[in-house]
């Protein structure tokens, strides 16, 4: 009986951590648990949450995508440029920007799968390239002055629920659906578990990689659109360093960096932990730099715990 409880606890350790954090922050500042603040937390993490779906797929197949931040930036700049400088309508601009995001993801897929460049290098290169292109496109200055209806995506509410939170929830649902109900999900786990065996089981591993990096681009692009709408202006540094926060959420959520193992539910917890930590520390007036230290330590603890568990179960 005791063993079962311990096993359950270990499996849901991430949720226990989340609960502990909520308790601690509430004790320190009761305002933390107000409905208002909780929605604020959810809204703050919505972009991480959206981008984390694609990153989850990528890490599931033992890959990495460092271009997420740059895709967010270029989608910001591109969408704004199309709307403001070229007079495109909202829908067209958003569609074209998302298409660009998918294209960049596909380029990553090609570099990694067809050419065979290690994912960390390939996506690092595209990160640099598209960060640069974003600067070139906007000339280093912010672009603003959109159609007021565009604000709805990032700033609107449905009842008490912020629109970005709804988008995030839909993305989580879609991610979970892909992983659990479609054959692509089975393929992702298979490729992540053992690429060679997957190929020999009839999976076209190369195509799956294209698909996954394209999806990663798409979800990053979506996060970019939400961000643009929230800030209402496109900054050439909008997504700088975003990939690391997204990777942190995913890894914190128990997706194994060596591939083959992980669930969307864990990633949701990972995203919420980052949100709660950030928000709670702001409420407690913890400085930005201290926050960075704390987040780094939390990442080490989470992954360290997970790794030790696995080591023990093997040994």
């Amino acid at each position: 009986m005791k063993d079962i409880v311990i096993a359950r606890l270990k499996k849901s350790a991430i949720w226990v951590v989340l609960l502990l954090l909520v308790v601690v922050f509430t004790a320190a500042n009761p305002r933390f648990l107000s409905m208002n603040n909780l929605f604020t937390v959810a809204r703050q993490v919505s972009m991480y949450g959206i981008a984390s779906i694609g990153m989850t797929f990528v890490i599931l197949i033992a890959g990495i995508d460092l271009s997420t931040g740059s895709i967010i930036t270029i989608v910001n700049v591109m969408c704004a440029y199309l709307m403001v400088n070229m007079g495109f309508g909202m829908v067209e601009a958003v569609t074209l920007s998302l298409f660009l995001a998918v294209l960049i993801g596909t380029l990553n897929g090609m570099l990694i799968s067809t050419i065979g460049i290690p994912a960390i290098i390939a996506t690092f290169a595209t990160q640099t390239i598209f960060a640069g292109i974003a600067y070139l496109l906007c000339g280093g200055t912010p672009i603003y002055g959109f159609d007021p209806r565009f604000k709805v995506i990032g700033q609107g509410y449905v009842g008490p629920v912020p629109v970005p939170v709804i988008i995030m929830i839909l993305c989580f649902a879609l991610g979970s659906f892909i992983l659990n109900k479609t054959y692509f999900g089975r393929y992702f786990y298979a490729v992540g578990g053992n690429e060679e065996a997957a190929e020999l089981s009839g999976i076209r591993v190369g195509r799956i990689k294209y698909l996954i990096y394209a999806l990663s681009g798409l979800f990053a692009g979506l996060a970019g659109i939400v961000m643009l709408s929230r800030t209402n202006s496109a900054q050439p540094t909008a997504g700088l360093g975003y990939e690391f926060d997204v990777i942190t959420c995913v890894v914190l959520g128990g997706v194994s960096i060596v591939g083959g193992f992980g669930k969307i539910s864990g990633v949701i917890a990972g995203v919420l932990i980052i949100g709660v930590l950030t928000n709670g520390m702001v409420l407690l007036n913890v400085s930005n730099y201290t926050q960075m230290v704390v987040k780094g330590i939390v990442l080490i603890l989470a992954v360290g715990f997970d790794t030790l568990q696995k080591k023990r179960s093997i040994g």
Binding site: K181, T182, R186, A190, G193, N194, E199
Partner: protein, 501 residues
């Protein structure tokens, strides 16, 4: 008496779950002696020598070296006692020079910096001692396999090895290189180094050794004085017993044989101009030594590796599968040799493994029909008697035999017609082996065609309707059921022909 021996293994026994790899094997070697060690694949030679290096801990038995008894070795203890093994895979760093490799892990230093000059000087001396001509500055990656092996040997001698164990040292070498290997072995012998020489090639054993130890199925069979023995006797001892009734009977194929699959002049992946026909409903066995080109042919048929020349025909139509997916869609299946690395998806459930090749077929708008998924799984779980608590169990938790059944189930679900089995019973215990054999018969009864690759002679002869033997990428012989004889197959398998080019 025992002080004459530099190394003695006494009653070494090694048990793995479900398998006894070594059954009370004893062996001793004198100073300055070359001892031949022979046996078929799986006879336990490798396991035995690994007990000497500490890579394998014996279940029971004693290792006597340097006048002391040990229950097992450790890599360090082996080194201290001068036991060195030259494996088939070399432990070298291709990007470093010959000299640096010679002193790998133990470089000559001047303070904290490496003294390259001194190492090169010492290396030159070491190579000269063995009469081998290697530039100490040459990068190991640029040297031929033969020279790389010499560096391994020199390294062992440099570390004061008294007993040198060589596992199939001649396998990767050209004839000229084998000659230098002989010379080095004889030189070392004259210097008092003892050598345990493992080889499939009996001529080498006769040329070098003074005594020969024969193993079979993990058992010690005999020790022979080389001068008083001959090839036939050795083969008889290696092969041993008559075929026992360990193979389920199968009625012979009926009617006119219809060619199901054909390879015409196929080259590539190490194979040269391979021609073979597989008839519908037969089990065609491929015999030969490890690395003879059988697995390589299977990879090409399955589309995992591309052929460079020649054609494949399936049911009379030319096929050219460029990926496993294409081969699977044509009805070809491969149960690979390395079950854990290539065969099963270990971290994935039984259900997902079995459905993996057909997921697209049982999905509508990408969404899996989960009732079909479960029905298929249950069907093959029952048909193949897969022992698993639930179909959701991860395959890594199943026994080897059951893992193999899951892989077979996968191909039956995919409706494969030509099933290539590459060493299907490797690492599987005896009971499960019999079940796999019965399954092979069921496959044939259900109209499937089987290409069986096996290095276990008994299995090959017991299960095949016809055997084709490979040697170094070529077909060296074909035997009909009534012509099956172990020594014939062995002879064909080690039929080393000089390259005509």
């Amino acid at each position: 008496m025992s002080e004459d021996f530099v190394l003695q293994l006494k009653n070494i026994r090694k048990e793995y779950p479900g398998v006894t790899a070594l059954k009370n094997v004893s062996l001793e070697i004198k100073e300055g002696e070359i001892l031949g060690l022979i046996g078929e694949n799986g006879a336990g030679k490798s396991t035995l020598i690994k007990t000497c290096s500490g890579a394998v801990i014996p279940t029971s038995g004693k290792i006597i070296v340097g006048g002391k008894e040990h229950t097992h070795m450790s890599p360090q203890l082996a080194r201290e006692n001068g036991i060195a093994i030259i494996y088939q895979e070399f432990n070298n760093v291709r990007e470093l020079s010959a000299a640096e490799n010679l002193f790998l892990g133990n470089p000559i230093r001047k303070g904290i910096v490496i003294d390259r000059k001194a190492m090169e000087r010492e290396a030159e001396k070491a190579f000269a001692q063995l009469n081998i001509n290697i530039d100490p500055k040459a990068l190991v990656g640029d040297l031929t396999v033969g020279y790389q092996q010499m560096i391994e040997i020199a390294k062992a001698i440099q570390q004061d090895a008294k007993v040198l164990i060589m596992d199939e040292p001649s396998a990767p070498l050209t004839n000229a290189e084998v000659d230098s290997l002989y010379k080095v072995c004889e030189l070392l012998k004259s210097k008092g180094v003892s050598i345990i020489y493992i080889s499939h090639k009996l001529e080498e054993i006769f040329r070098l050794s003074s005594r020969i130890v024969v193993l079979r199925d993990g058992e010690y069979i005999d020790t022979l004085q080389t001068a008083e023995s001959n090839v036939d006797e050795l083969i008889r001892l290696m092969v041993g017993r008559e075929l026992k009734d360990t193979f389920p009977p199968r009625p012979p194929a009926e009617g006119e044989p219809e060619v199901f699959f054909e390879a015409r002049n196929v080259s590539g992946n190490g194979n040269k101009k391979v021609n073979l026909k597989i008839h519908k409903g037969e089990v065609l066995g491929l015999g030969g030594l490890v690395g003879a080109g059988r697995t390589e042919l299977a990879q090409m048929i399955f589309g995992a590796v591309h052929k460079t020349e020649g054609e494949f025909f399936l049911k009379g139509k030319e096929i050219n599968p460029k990926s496993p997916r294409e081969a699977i869609d044509l009805g070809i299946a491969l149960v690979p040799e390395d079950r854990k690395r290539h065969g099963a998806l270990l971290g994935v459930s039984v259900k997902n493994n079995i459905n993996m090749p057909i997921y697209k077929l049982i999905s509508k708008f990408s969404v899996i029909n989960s009732s079909k998924e479960s029905v298929t799984t249950e069907k093959y779980r029952q048909e193949l008697l897969i022992k698993t608590p639930t179909i959701h169990q991860e395959v890594k938790n199943l026994s080897g035999g059951n893992q193999q059944k899951v892989i077979l189930g996968k191909w039956l679900a995919a409706n494969s017609e030509l099933i290539i089995l590459d060493e299907p019973t490797r690492g599987i215990d005896v009971g499960a082996k019999f079940e796999i054999y019965k399954l092979i018969n069921t496959l044939v009864e259900n109209g499937k065609t089987v290409l069986l690759i096996s290095s276990e002679m008994e299995e090959l002869m017991g299960m095949s309707d016809r055997i084709i033997v490979f040697c170094e990428g070529r077909i060296t012989g074909e035997l009909k059921k009534e012509e099956f004889e172990q020594h014939l197959i062995l002879k064909m398998a080690s039929d080393v022909q000089e390259d005509e080019e």
